[in-house]
Symmetry: C2
Amino acid sequence: MTVEGAPPGAAAELVGGHRVRRTSMAMADGRELLYFDDSPGYVDGTATRETRDTRDLPPVATTSTMRFDVLTGEWVALAAHRMDRTFKPPADLCPLCPTRPGRPAGEVPADDYDVVVFENRFPSYAGAGGPAATAPATHLDGEELWVTRPAVGRCEVICFTADHDASVASLPVSRVRTVVEAWADRTAALSALAGVGQVFPFENRGEEIGVTLQHPHGQIYAYPEPAPRLAQYLGRAAAHRAATGGNLLADVLAAERRAGTRVVLAGERWTAYVPAAARWPVEVHLAPHRDVPDLAALDGPERDELAVVYRELLRRLDRYFPEVETLPYIAGWHQAPVGAERDLGRLHLQAFSILRSPNKLKYLAGSESGAGAWVNDTTPERIAERLRAVAS
Amino acid sequence: MTVEGAPPGAAAELVGGHRVRRTSMAMADGRELLYFDDSPGYVDGTATRETRDTRDLPPVATTSTMRFDVLTGEWVALAAHRMDRTFKPPADLCPLCPTRPGRPAGEVPADDYDVVVFENRFPSYAGAGGPAATAPATHLDGEELWVTRPAVGRCEVICFTADHDASVASLPVSRVRTVVEAWADRTAALSALAGVGQVFPFENRGEEIGVTLQHPHGQIYAYPEPAPRLAQYLGRAAAHRAATGGNLLADVLAAERRAGTRVVLAGERWTAYVPAAARWPVEVHLAPHRDVPDLAALDGPERDELAVVYRELLRRLDRYFPEVETLPYIAGWHQAPVGAERDLGRLHLQAFSILRSPNKLKYLAGSESGAGAWVNDTTPERIAERLRAVAS
């Protein structure tokens, strides 16, 4: 559990023994920034933390709109202002590093931090909790077929560590535990904003998947409604419930634990398995044993174990190909929707890589990107075997 | 229209004045190869064509299976044998070039060709028309949730020209017209095979999207049922028909022609437009004015105009970014399904690029690949403006 940073020194003993102090501040352009600290000096208030952002920043552009794609039934966000976003800056200009003497101020005013979260300067979705959240949809060109509306939501960046050259897999478990705390906090906070239908914390890692900032960081997207993958799942889960009475993801987990052939890691409160129909050359899911809708609903022991097993999973990904030191990956938390059909959802992580061999990428070409038909060049059982073989 | 190559000299005058001779042969491992010739010597039978493949080839592996993904309702093909497929060979070992003295025999035994189609040696889907087409689905691990069956279908390669360094955009219109003829022929032939539910001709062009062979070529996938994008469309089209009585794609075309803001190219029989909810940084659709289910249903004048407008569209793609000589792109033909719901479908081309600026790719990272939520960094109207500005 997390305690607010103000007043200083108010840190409490937390569930599972992990103490985190949360300190909120406003950035120069009005965006919100939150420190999640676990270092003793910050937690007990004896260490100081810069909470002023003195940069001269123009207001954040939040001009995104969404259009409804009548051929697929999915909304597409149009965010033309993102074309100018920061692209692979040199390490000494990293905007995610702490602000230190002799280099320009970055996004984080403090000269050190443990875990920090702030609103993205180039958001794909913005305005949740504000007036845009209730803006009506309109028709483009006066045509019934084309519906458009503001891309309401919120996009946050989470820096996992102040160390530019680290990775989640290289952090101490206690720091990963703080990341879990920050994810849970943001899930609860963003879910409470008007206009939010899904909260999706994820990490993109590696230049191969287009990461433009090398500093270890993830993102938290709050979508205005269940995004396509979740919407697809909700349809499947509703049909499954109607047919069997069960929760689809809970039944999948139970079946994977029975079969065992694709189980990668079996904890007391979490199990990791390769899904039976894995579509990526490396893919693993991680699910809690208890039915919980989202990260905010995890209890202390579940959060404690998650820090251990999540780091272990990421370490195994880095060992997947002996020739590859750091595997490019995408790791995303699928959570229950906010609002309607929330009872159909169930928390799980989907982590996957597009590397199909040490020097070959799985590209999404005509069959996948055009027809939507996925072809995997390996089998889920082989992936699971490898992920078991590289255990710590 | 196409005439069979045997007996020689039987070529007829064809609709639109374009004459193509089709000659079928068996490759060394039993795969089928088809020459589609438009050069006078080949059409009238005075030029000879090698129709024997004397290589010593092992049988083609066709071990693909499909598994049903219960979380998405989509089938995923598992084709582990494809892990070993040919990967960026040097130009003098290109398996798609004609077989000429002094270099190893490639896939095409002839020392020259106009357009050639043959079955892929590393097929993701195989066995259409054979016993696998009726093989029953089974349960994996004895679990109701996991259904598996053979990945029935057929995968063909189409070489657009014998010239290794050419591109579709650089071919004479008459050769593009022959490509259209070959697509139409294969659409009809593959649709007639038991176990085929959709025929998808497409071209992947450019290393940036993972093309492993540089020779100008495309592919034709015959899927065992409507693949996810088509299935998604059919659901939308059925709802649209129930609500309005109209054909969704026909109504989209009509609305785009009325609005005009996203129309890129207006022919007598074809119109190209950027879809109102384009998800790719460069995307354009091309649709016939007449309701037709697939390429095989196009009449002569439609095929003639298609050769002109398709080449023109590809030329404009290559001019899209002045700094980029050849744009990486995916161009795929969405056709009506074979069998059920065929009347809901309507032929259209979707061409798109993942290049969002001359040196930046649009990556499908956490939001797109994880949550399925697409963010486009430009607007459809800007894409259309650019595609009009670079007209020939």
